[in-house]
């Protein structure tokens, strides 16, 4: 099982890289890539859950409780990927003024926030039996909560603005400023206080756990890619609907002219 798992991790990783190369070579549309990722994600997720929940050994100190890690840690992969997408696409929007980048950025922020929420919730569920409290003001907890507030603000701002160009410009700036301040927020809350256990590294945990965790991380990355492309498609549809709602008279006139 160990060998099967490691092999699968490498195969899925190669698949991800291949689809990315195909995307950049324009041999594959983002939507098709998303569909592929979604299809591949399901068996990988099932396999990863089997590895993590049944096959991997219980933890020496925490027993079975630790198994929530297989959802908790991959959630942060999705969070990071989402916010990074929002940041990079916002920069690209400010440079190019192409509204598709704005759609990508908003998709990234929204999916990132979803994973951020699952990360915080699973962490809280784990913290209750382990630390004895649902929440503590540990730097990493505090930091990820501030992240969530930052990008929630981004989404609230978008909901309040109607003009697509002004909304894209304002929210891009919020994503850029918000993302750029996250590192200094991290260091400031770390100096403020510290309690979180240091992250485990692959050298200190059971190799079975490593394989299970890597499988789950890849599964979440695939799910992230799938959700991102679907959310982008939705944003495009909404943009078209907004455009249609803005100029019904002109469109009717055009139709009458034909």
């Amino acid at each position: 099982m160990q060998q099967v798992g490691s092999l699968l991790v490498w195969i899925v990783l190669a698949f991800l890289v291949a689809t990315w190369i195909a995307l950049f070579a324009r041999r594959l549309s983002p939507q098709k890539a998303g569909t592929l990722w979604g299809i591949v994600a399901l068996p990988v997720l099932a396999f990863g859950l089997y590895l993590g929940l049944l096959w991997a050994p219980p933890d020496v100190l925490m027993g079975e409780v630790y198994r929530i890690m297989y959802v908790h840690f991959p959630s942060w992969i999705g969070t990071g990927a989402g916010y990074l997408t929002a940041f990079v696409c916002s920069l690209l929007y400010i440079r190019s003024r192409d509204l598709r980048f704005d759609s990508w950025a908003s998709a990234g922020a929204e999916i990132g926030l979803v994973f951020n929420a699952t990360g915080l919730i699973t962490g809280s569920i784990w913290g209750r039996p382990t630390w004895g409290v649902w929440w503590t003001w540990d730097p990493r907890l505090t930091w990820t909560a501030i992240m969530a507030v930052t990008f929630a603000g981004y989404l609230v701002l978008r909901a309040l603005m109607e003009d697509p160009e002004a909304r894209a410009r304002a929210s891009s700036l919020v994503a850029i400023i918000g993302f750029a301040t996250l590192p200094i927020v991290y260091f400031s809350v770390r100096w403020w206080r510290t309690l979180h256990q240091p992250q485990s590294s692959p050298e200190t945990v059971d190799p079975q756990m490593v394989v299970a965790l890597r499988t789950m991380m890849l599964a979440f990355l695939l799910i992230f890619g799938y959700l991102l492309t679907r959310r982008f498609a939705l944003a495009q549809l909404r943009a078209e609907a907004e455009l249609a709602a803005l100029e019904p008279d002109e469109l009717e006139m055009e139709a009458a002219g034909d």
């Binding site: 400010i94 501030i146 507030v149 930052t150 603000g153 609230v156 701002l157 309040l160 603005m161 410009r169 304002a170 891009s172 700036l173 919020v174 850029i176 400023i177 918000g178 750029a180 301040t181 200094i184 927020v185 260091f187 400031s188 809350v189 100096w191 403020w192």
Partner: protein, 233 residues
Amino acid sequence: MSDLRRAVGVARKDLLIERRSKAAFNAMAFFAALVLFIFSFALGPEAPGLSPAGQTLLQYLWPGLLWVAIFFTGILALGRSFQLEMDSGGLQALRLYPGDLKAIYLGKLAANLVVLLAMELLLIPLSAVLYNVDLWTKLPGLLGVTVLGSIGFVAVGTFYAALTANLRAREVMLPLLLFPTQVPIVVGAVRATALIVHGDPMGELNVWLQMLALVDVVLLTVCTLTFEFAIEE
């Protein structure tokens, strides 16, 4: 050089309007006083603090309460800072002037900073009197912390005030966007203020002041570089 003069021009215009109308300052001063009273009602004027013995809770918490009051009061000034231009179309005129748009940002920032510092000049002694905090010997250090903390607050605040100026829900959006970026400022400013007021046995104060200065530089740089996009039409 001429950009600097433009910035000074914008700041002088804003400060002249403020000096004549005193609209922002009066609202802020009364609001700040109210906040101080509410803290006293909420926490109890004679509740004992943690350490040293004999201190009241208000004295113990004073550094944190002071910065909460500064932030809540400062939001009032920031929210107004682009309103005049928005109502009269003045921002368009400002944008049309030749030269770098960063000058508008720096001018607005300077005006906001002066108004905020003036309010703090009132708030700090008033809170010290009301909560019976002894700080007359500590004023120079306190002044440094206040200026450093206020610069970081106003840097992002002015930026987001411009960004949200023509929103319907700007009163909600401004704090919602601004406060998450202010975590480093709150942490640094409150810690430094506490060290000044309650004593600094380990000599940590300088590190916190350096951190505040560094955060100020980062925030100022990011906001200055992106401001021209914030006031596009």
